[in-house]
């Protein structure tokens, strides 16, 4: 259920950017980075996106998701480790709590690929 809401949040945020452009561009690809220590399941997000983009300015847009592992840094041990999500988060060596998360909390729209040639033949004459 929550991927529906995450998708809605994503679309609203991209819409903000889209509205701010002088000429509404055609967005071809949205590149997301999604950490493993978030509430988002990429497969469900993809599915929700395919459903929700229909009939919107993103109707032909592809969603590309890059997943980022959860990495924490233990200060007493001075080393990074990958907590086992759902099982164990404290440092496997010294059992210090997971305090310093170095990656895995990302929910980021990294970049957009877009074109401005809504009428391609006219905008870019084949003169090269």
């Amino acid at each position: 259920m929550h991927e529906t809401d995450m998708t809605r949040a994503l679309i609203l945020t991209v819409k903000d950017w889209w509205d701010a452009q002088t000429e509404p561009p055609r967005i071809e690809r949205i590149h997301l980075t999604v950490g493993k220590f978030t509430c988002v399941e990429p497969v469900s997000l993809q599915f929700s996106f395919e459903v929700q983009r229909q009939g919107t300015f993103l109707a032909e847009t592809e969603l590309v998701i890059e997943e980022i592992p959860l990495v924490a840094f233990c200060h007493p041990c001075q080393q990074s480790y990958e907590p086992e999500i759902g099982l164990h988060y404290a440092c496997p060596q010294c059992q210090s709590p997971m305090e310093d998360i170095r990656s895995g909390r990302e929910l980021k729209i990294d970049r957009l690929e877009y074109c401005t040639d809504s009428t391609p033949s006219q905008a870019y004459a084949p003169n090269i």
Binding site: H2, D5, M6, A9, C39, V40, Y89, M98, I109, T116
Partner: protein, 246 residues
């Protein structure tokens, strides 16, 4: 010819919601209101806790409630008996409150009451341990509830909620004798992900632990007020800033 451009955005997926949350928080701050976001799985005891809280604190503090519920007004009706404004927000199919929904509640508060007279807004989120933790609504503190009947492993399985919480109430303490559950284990699991969280075991049935919760609430309201007074230049009167949130 077809030319593709690249726009490096680097913005959060929840940016639009975050903006709304910041907007709500600005209103809370202008009005001098402290806001808590109460979150838990369905039935952990949010409404029961609100009932006790309103009964105990609504003499000293002026409180309003924003009540998120998927379809009914049942919880809102329970709370209206305590004589405080309760803004019910039906989320429809959504599984959490977002900033925009809470803005709707604030709008209602601003229309029907004088918001600057309030000290505390308690937001009861929709029962769900997953996404409410990622959608800020403009709160100053997140309060999570975990009932004893849910099991020791919930902080491990739903870590974001427990990591984001400023205060965690372990509820239904009176049921401990009937359950095979170890409070120390729950605490150890929580501390793995959130070592600094304020942890308060309570029972709304026997009243155990509630005083501790009430003092936490009072101290949060007091420290938020101090922060606001420090942040705001003296000449800016709160009244001048009152506008309905949109």
């Amino acid at each position: 010819m077809h030319q593709t451009f690249d726009a490096a955005l680097g913005i959060n997926l929840l940016h639009a919601n975050q903006r709304g949350a910041d907007h709500n928080r600005a209103h809370f701050d202008q009005w001098g209101i402290t806001c808590f976001n109460l979150m838990s799985s369905p039935g952990a005891g949010k409404t029961a806790l609100l009932e006790k809280t309103l009964a105990a604190l609504s003499q000293d503090l002026k409180i309003a409630v924003i009540e998120g519920d998927m379809t009914t007004e049942l919880d809102a009706e329970r709370l209206r008996q305590y004589g405080v404004p309760v803004m019910a927000i039906n989320t429809g199919r959504a599984c959490h409150l977002d900033a925009k929904m809470v803005a709707g509640g604030l709008h209602q508060l601003a229309q029907e009451y004088v918001p600057a007279e309030f000290d505390l807004v308690l937001v009861e989120n929709v029962g769900n341990l997953v996404c409410p933790a990622e959608f800020e609504v403009g709160e100053h503190a997140k309060v999570a509830l975990l009932s004893l009947t849910e099991g020791e492993d919930k902080p491990l399985k739903y870590p974001i909620m427990f990591q984001e919480a400023d205060c965690l109430l372990i509820t239904k303490l009176d049921l401990a004798p009937y359950l095979d559950i170890d409070l120390a284990r729950i605490e150890a699991n929580v501390r793995q992900i959130n070592p600094d969280v304020t942890l308060i075991p309570v029972s709304t049935k026997t009243g155990e632990g509630l005083d501790c919760w009430f003092s936490w609430v009072r101290s949060q309201v007091a420290s938020q007020t101090t922060l606001r007074l420090e942040a705001r230049p003296l000449e800016a009167k709160p009244d001048a800033l009152i506008a309905s949130p949109h």
